[in-house]
Structure formats: C-alpha cells, structure tokens
C-alpha cells in the first residue's frame, strides 16, 4: 500500500494498492473521523482482496 505507484513497481512489489498521499497514505485529514476511517477500511479491504487474488505478474489493484 503506497502513494507513489512507480516506486512500488520499480522495487518489485507484486500486489500494489495505490493510497491517498505521502504523509497520510491511509487517511485524509480533511474528512471527519468517521469518513476517514471508512476510507481507510475501504483501502485495507482492497488490500485483503489483493492478498486473496492470484496474480502472475506485478499488479496494481
């Protein structure tokens, strides 16, 4: 889970989840607490989906 996808690709990550921003990859300070946690949950669920999925090569989800 990273904000700069080309870096994840160049270092060889196989399952890549693009995130929000460098200083807060899994949050967004402009949202209220509830909204921010919902956003984080959505991203983590996406990561779990990626972990569950078979991939043959580097994949951006």
């Amino acid at each position: 889970m990273a904000s700069i996808v080309p870096i994840s690709q160049s270092v060889g990550a196989n399952r890549i989840i693009p995130t929000v921003a460098i200083p807060h990859p899994l949050g967004n300070p402009t949202l209220d607490e509830k909204g921010e946690k919902a956003l984080r949950r959505k991203l983590v669920e996406k990561a779990l989906d990626a972990l569950h999925t078979d991939v043959k090569e580097q994949t951006v989800f």
């Binding site: 904000s3 990859p25 984080r40 949950r41 983590v44 569950h52």
Partner: protein
C-alpha cells in the same frame, strides 16, 4: 619472494568422492590437489600453493562457524598470505562454500579470489567480500578459468592498483572507490548527455541499484483463517522511538508488540520518519499503519488474526542492501510464526 597461498576445494575436486561424501569435515593436505596443479603452474614463481583445504560442500554450508575458524587457523598455521577457492562453476553449494571460504579469510585480512558462473547463488551472497572471476557453467571450462584466475590473483597479490571490475575481468563487487577527474561533474554530465542525445555509447558514473524480482505467491485462500502482519517503511514507532530509528538513512528496524492495542493513538505512537511532514501521522498513526481497521476486521472474522508484532523502519534514503537484509530477517520471523500474509505500508 613468492606469496604463500592456501587453495580451498570441495570433496569432488579433492578426489575424495561425489555427493555421498559432501558431508566430510575439512582437512588439510600439504601442497596441491586437483585443479590446484594447474593453478600452481600458472602462478609460476609469483605464488606457491603451500596447502589445500578439502571440505564437503554440505559440511561447509551447514557448519560455517567451524569451517571459517578452520580456514583462518590453517592460513595462520602455514603462514599464508592469501586464499584462492574453486573454481566452482555452476555448482550451487560449492559456489556458496567457495564464496564463504574467501569471505571468512578476507574478514581475517587475507587476500582472496574465487571463480564461478555468474548465476551461481554464491556470487550474489559473497561478491562484495571477495573477487570472483566469471567462469562457464561446467568444469569443461576449467582450462579457460584457471589462467584468468591466476593472472588476476597474481596482480592483486602484487598490490598493483586494480582498474574497474569490467577492465580487470572480475564480477562487479558493488564497492565504490573515489577517483579524481580533470573535468568537474557539470562538464562530465553535459558530455554524457550530448553522447546520449547523439545515440552514442556512454558509461554512467553512478549505477542505479538493481532490484530483484520475486515470483508472486498464490493468493491466500481463506483470509478468515489467516494471520496477517503489518510492516511499514513509514516510521511508525512507540512514542519516544525506543530503538532510535534514524529519521533518514536508517540503520535498523524495530518490532513492537501490539497485543491488546486496538487503535494507534496520538501520544502513544508517532512517526520517526524525517522525509515527510509528520503532522498527520502524529495526529493519528493509523493513517500510516492501519491497526484500528485491522482490529475491526479481526473482530468481525474477516481475517483470522492480526499478528502480535508489527515491524517498522524509516524508508528515507535507506541503503537498498540494508533494506534487503532487514526484509529477509523480518520475512523469516513471520514465516517461522506461521504468518500467511503481510500488508506493507509505505509513505
């Protein structure tokens, strides 16, 4: 005066036996054995092979501490100056053993050299510690390998200044050496750029690291039974950064227990990372390491368990070599503790 050299070879080239003898402990014989005969002839009066260590490949790989001590003791006993090993061609364990033998001798201050096929796993492991001459993949290339090994070894022993790996014919070690140029960097950079534009060949002065690739693992079939770990390069640490992970060019990583922690709250956790604005991560460290959400998912049974420890470092100018080493250490700990999947977060 001829330099005194110890030659390290395995059970096969030592004439003891094949795979069935791969478990034999190291032994020393005075003078040359096996490929040492050819090497001795090529080294001529520049260096003398005073003794040969023969060791089973499995034994060496499995008993490194003991074999390393044996090698250094033998070098001392024979009052030797240097160790040459192999060549190992593409024999994996022999390559690892030859690389290790050189590495152990080099750590004790001896000059070392070995030869192997560039794809031998011993190359990746030991190229930084010793000179490795590239060989063919099989012993059919012995006749080609020995003269190159002997010539380079004699040159290194004589203390002659070596050129680049490319010029001298050994495998690049990843060692940087300061050099003075007549022209300043700006002039060299412009000259390089002009060559590039014209489509002419040019040589970089600073090679980018090469990242390895890993075949993707199959997906985790049932996440509701899986233990999942969190690892981050975003620098999230317990308040006060107890292991003093540096804000940039980190020299270590930390592992911190989170049993019973359902939320990373401000004031108890913080970031140690010096490469981004820390405000948001310090306000709510879950923005970098999503412990709160994974606890919810654990409670709901969507995942089996959140692993009891998270691992963390600062990915800010951190040496690739260090990161690789830590990744391997962390991976081993997670594997030994039956973790099925890892979520890595990066800032």
């Amino acid at each position: 005066m001829a330099y005194r050299v110890i030659h390290y070879i395995n059970q096969f080239f030592g004439g003891i036996g094949g795979e069935e003898k791969a478990d034999i402990a190291p032994e020393v014989r005075d003078g040359v054995a096996g490929p040492g005969m050819g090497l001795a002839k090529l080294l001529g009066d520049k260096a003398e092979i005073v003794a040969t260590i023969i060791c089973g490949d499995n034994y060496c790989v499995g008993n490194q501490e003991e074999v390393g001590k044996f090698i250094v003791d033998t070098l001392k006993k024979y009052n030797a100056d240097a160790l040459i090993a192999g060549p190992a061609f593409n024999a994996g364990r022999y390559g690892m053993a030859s690389g290790f033998a050189c590495s152990a001798a080099a750590a004790a201050g001896y000059t070392t050299l070995t030869g192997m096929y560039p794809e031998n796993p011993g190359v990746e492991l030991y190229k930084a510690n010793t000179y490795i001459v590239p060989t063919t993949d099989s012993a059919a290339g012995m006749g080609k390998a020995l003269p190159v090994m002997a010539a380079l070894f004699a040159k290194i022993l004589s203390g002659e200044k070596l050129g680049t790996a490319e010029a001298e014919g050994y495998i690049e070690r990843g060692v940087r050496i300061n050099t003075f140029y007549e022209e300043v960097g700006a002039e060299r950079a412009v000259a390089m750029l002009l060559k590039k534009i014209k489509g002419e060949p040019f040589t970089t002065e600073y090679k980018m690291p090469v990242f390895d690739r890993v075949t993707p693992r199959p997906g985790v079939k049932d996440l509701s039974k899986a233990t999942i770990a969190l690892v981050t390069s975003g620098g999230i640490v317990p308040m006060g950064n107890p292991d003093h992970i540096a804000a940039s060019s980190a020299r270590n990583y930390g592992g911190y227990e989170i049993d019973g922690v359902t939320d990373l709250v401000s004031g108890k956790y913080q970031t140690a990372h010096g490469g981004y604005d820390q405000t948001y991560a310090n306000q709510d460290p879950d923005r970098v390491l999503p412990v709160d959400v994974l606890r919810d998912l654990e409670k709901e049974g969507k995942i089996g368990k959140l692993y009891h420890t998270f691992y963390t470092t600062v990915g800010n100018g951190t040496a690739v070599g260090n990161a690789k080493k830590w990744g391997e250490e962390i991976g081993k700990q997670l594997k030994d503790n039956n973790v099925q999947a890892v979520i890595l977060t990066s800032t």
